[in-house]
């Protein structure tokens, strides 16, 4: 007969209660958000709270769960970027770094191989021509000895370079395994730097994650536009100090050996001839702050680490009276003349900055330079008003949908309909509880997924109720009819929901962004609706039945 053991009843109610408590914070979204922000701020300060923060933290009792559903960009407004990192940029740097070592090793063998000269080559190879072609095997052997084994999961036993001979040239390339390792490192580094730069601006819950081989997805809620975000993260921000040889307005002038021509950042049509050699680079900076120069114009203060300070000090001591260039990403910010020896390792960058410009430059310098350039494959900006409109519309639509289904079910199934309605309310509560628990992000299609679930969640109940009706027609007693109804409807419920769940899972794996948000709510909705239909409504019907013991059942 209709029996559900006590422990099962306890477990069912416990799951429902846990789900609803987890969902509770979402009803007080604003309050919980203030509470969470305050807690995060207090933690960031090392546990010391200002009275104001104490007050904010008190907005929500700490014994209750405080997880809330994150709102996606389409609901909150913000910017979305998909960037592709040019991992191959780094190969050239790696090979350049190898050149002194290769040169020294070959020099030791000069007797056998003659003169050594580096040749211009494609960026992914290092080409060295030797004077005595007969010694090429020897040269290749010497360079090959420089190869280092790399330790990685896939490349066991592989070394970092491949050396080959082409005529009288020794050609050095990065090995496949080394490239893969470099790529992974480059993307990881870019990710970290982007994260630091975005965190400096201090917005709530930015999403910065690696996607595929060489892509990074960046979503920052609350930022004005994708353009602004790009300005922040899209700059390589490679700062160097180099000697300035001269100035010209001719873009085609030849800079001469060992020099390069670089445009000025502010003055259109002005170019500087700059020595190739970098005196000090941005990696040696320890701090950069927005400031004002003696004329009250925005500027950036910087400080070098001891190493950088020493190099900078020596250089300025030797070159008093000559100009030197402060260069950002291949453009000359300014080229002041060295007035005196600067020993302390700190200085100021002046230029044609706005206050925002100097703040942004300081942020970029502090966070460090990106290891490689990036292309933006996808960019989206959603204004906060549009997001708010979408939330409002989604809320109204959900409430109306909910009310419509509730009324319809009550009219169609009477008491059983009311029980199904109660289960439906629990169901939506459980969806929000689960979403909060896993920290999912709610998007506009996600809301559509919930609304769709509201419509479809009753399906399992309808299947059972219709089945009970049929069993009643076959002149079974009420208790037997209810039992058979559940028993026989079960296979249809499972088959129907498993198939829908399969599609939700595929959407989750294949989809991105909003589509994924939709699949999450749809998938969770299927789980909770099956749970409520099979366990919760059944338990409620059984409890009602035990109390009343009706002779006739009307479904």
């Amino acid at each position: 007969m209709l029996q559900i053991s006590l422990w099962k009843r306890v477990v069912i109610w416990a799951v429902v209660a846990a789900g609803l408590i987890l969902a509770l914070p979402n009803l007080f979204y604003g309050r919980v958000e203030v509470h969470n922000d305050a807690l995060a701020a207090i933690e960031a300060q090392g546990g010391v709270a200002t009275p104001e923060q104490e007050l904010d933290a008190g907005f929500w009792p700490s014994f209750l769960p405080s997880g809330i559903v994150n709102l996606g960009l389409d609901l909150r407004g913000g910017a979305h970027l998909l960037a592709e990192v040019h991992v191959e940029d780094v190969y050239a740097d790696r090979l350049d770094g190898m050149w002194p070592e290769v040169r020294n090793a070959l020099r030791a063998e000069r007797a056998a191989i003659g003169t050594i000269r580096r040749q211009d080559s494609a960026p992914d190879e290092l080409r060295v021509r030797i004077g005595e072609p007969a010694g090429i095997d020897r040269a290749v052997g010497v360079v090959r000895d420089l190869a280092r084994p790399i330790v990685s999961l896939t490349g066991v036993g592989a070394s970092d370079i491949e050396v080959s001979a082409e005529g009288s040239d020794v050609v050095i390339r990065l090995s496949e395994a080394e490239r893969a390792a470099t790529d992974a490192r480059t993307v990881q580094q870019s990710l970290e730097i982007i994260r630091r730069r975005v965190d400096e601006v201090g917005t709530r819950e930015p999403t910065i994650q690696r996607q595929g081989e060489d892509r990074i997805l960046i979503q920052v809620p609350g930022i004005g536009s994708a353009e602004e975000l790009k300005g922040l993260i899209g700059t390589t921000a490679r700062l160097t100090f180099q000697s300035v040889v001269g100035r010209t307005t001719d873009a085609d002038s030849r800079p001469g050996a060992g020099n390069v021509l670089m445009p000025s950042l502010d003055e259109q049509g002005t170019y500087y001839i700059v020595e190739d050699r970098v005196v000090v680079s941005g990696e040696e900076l320890t701090d950069a702050q927005p400031a004002f120069d003696q004329n009250g114009r925005p500027a950036v203060n910087f400080r070098f680490n001891p190493q950088g300070a020493r190099k900078f000090g020596e250089y300025t001591a030797e070159n008093i009276g000559s100009p030197f260039g402060i260069i950002l990403d291949g453009e000359v910010i300014s080229a002041p003349v060295i007035q005196s020896h600067i020993p302390g390792g700190s200085g100021i960058i002046t230029g044609n900055f706005s206050v925002e410009g100097s703040t942004e430059l300081a942020v970029l310098l502090r966070a460090g330079a990106l290891p490689a350039g990036m292309t933006f494959l996808e960019e989206r900006t959603i204004g906060p008003e549009l997001g708010q409109d979408s939330i409002d519309a989604g809320k109204v639509a959900s409430v109306v949908a909910f009310a419509g289904v509730l009324v319809f079910m009550a009219l169609s199934y009477g008491l059983f309909g009311l029980i199904a309605n109660l289960a439906l309310i629990i169901n939506v509560g459980l969806i929000f509880g689960l979403l909060s628990l896993i920290g999912a992000t709610l998007t506009l299609p996600g809301i559509a997924g919930i609304v769709l679930t509201i419509g479809m969640a009753v399906d399992a109940n309808v299947l059972v109720f219709e089945r009970i009706k049929e069993e009643l027609k076959r002149a079974k007693g009420p208790a037997r009819a209810i039992e058979l109804g559940y028993e026989k409807a079960l296979s249809a419920i499972l088959d129907a929901n498993v198939t829908t769940f399969i599609t939700a899972a595929i959407l989750f794996v294949m989809g991105s962004g909003p589509v994924r948000g939709f699949s999450v709510t749809l998938g969770l909705g299927i789980l909770t609706s099956v749970f409520t239909a099979i366990f919760v409504t059944r338990l409620m019907i059984v409890i009602w039945f035990e109390r009343r013991r009706p002779k006739v059942l009307e479904v």
């Binding site: 559509a448 479809m456 009753v458 749809l522």
Partner: protein, 323 residues
């Protein structure tokens, strides 16, 4: 007093006119394929790259003036559509501007292009604002097309496999015929109505697949049960009986789902209207197809009836293993 959408006892013959309904379905599929080939889908930037700018203004929108303002920039194919929604206020005028992908690089549309368009429109109408700007580069859009097609194919394949596992293969074929019918007819209606076809619509398509299947599986589940119960009954009668028995449920579920979706369609804002439209269409067509396509295919394919005797053909492919 109970609300009854379907009489308590129905005994309708769903296959009396099966040639007509099935023919209609085949015709609809063919027409959809033709529409897709001739008119084509109105792809959003997700699938063909480019930029969309949403504008909002207190001034009424003059599409021709907008077009004239943008034309001097020489951006190629620019489409401007005004957006209407019941939720907009009196002085809320919204338009959607789409610019095709520029140049042949991988990157999304250059910032200067967007700024130039925005400046041109601002000159025309100082009160204009740009609540959203989205750009997708051609490289990503190509990949999105691939993964979208793959997702739909995978979903149909997975479902085919599951049903084959749970039922007989004839059921599987019937269910998938219904699915393909639904997907193609939906693509057809999107071609004819030229509703923007973007990533969200793919999600809707897959939901349709899920819903249509849900419906089909419920009917099939009953067919399986009745086949065992009424061993002597004609297959056609078993199918009819099963459809009639589950009809009340089919209609109830469709109505509740439609109730929810229609409220989303009317009140949910214009951003997801296309998405919701696809789902409403899918619910209607999915309900239809589970009866008139899936079951009709099952009827024509026939199905193994006698479950007690071993199938004469079963296992023949392995018969030689022992020998």
């Amino acid at each position: 007093m109970r609300l009854r959408l379907v009489p308590a006892e129905t005994n309708w013959d769903f296959f009396r006119t099966w040639k007509i309904t099935f023919g209609l379905s085949v015709l609809a599929v063919l027409a959809s394929l033709v529409a897709f080939a001739v008119i084509g889908l109105n792809y959003g930037i997700d699938f063909r790259g480019g930029t969309t700018i949403r504008t909002e203004s207190s001034q009424p929108i003059d599409v021709a003036a907008y077009r004239d303002a943008i034309a001097p920039l020489g951006l190629g194919d620019v489409s401007i559509t005004e957006v209407f929604d019941a939720g907009f206020g009196e002085d809320e005028h919204v338009a959607q501007i789409r610019i095709e992908a520029q140049g042949d690089g991988d990157a999304s549309v250059a910032a200067e292009t967007v700024l130039a368009v925005e400046a041109a429109l601002q000159e025309l109408d100082p009160s204009i604002t740009f609540p959203s700007v989205e750009s997708v580069g051609p490289k990503v859009s190509g990949e999105l097309v691939q993964s979208a097609v793959l997702a739909v194919v995978l979903a149909i394949g997975a479902v085919l496999f599951y049903i084959w596992l749970r039922f007989e293969w004839q059921f599987s074929v019937g269910a998938v015929a219904a699915l393909i019918h639904d997907v193609i007819v939906t693509i057809g209606i999107f071609s004819v109505l030229q509703i923007k076809f973007d990533l969200a619509i793919i999600a809707a398509l897959l939901t349709i697949v899920g819903y249509s299947l849900n419906d089909t599986v419920v009917v099939f589940d009953r067919v399986r049960e009745n086949l065992i119960r009424f061993k002597q009954m004609e297959l056609k009668d078993v199918l009819n009986l099963s459809i009639n028995e589950t009809l009340s449920r089919t209609v109830m579920t469709s109505v509740t789902t439609l109730l929810a979706l229609i409220s989303l369609f009317v009140l949910g804002g214009d951003v997801i209207r296309g998405f919701v439209f696809a789902m409403i269409w899918g619910v209607v067509i999915g309900t239809y197809s589970s009866i008139f396509v899936a079951s009709a295919v099952l009827l024509k394919l026939g199905v193994k009836r006698d479950w007690s005797k071993p199938d004469a053909k079963a296992g023949t492919q392995f018969a030689d293993i022992d020998a």
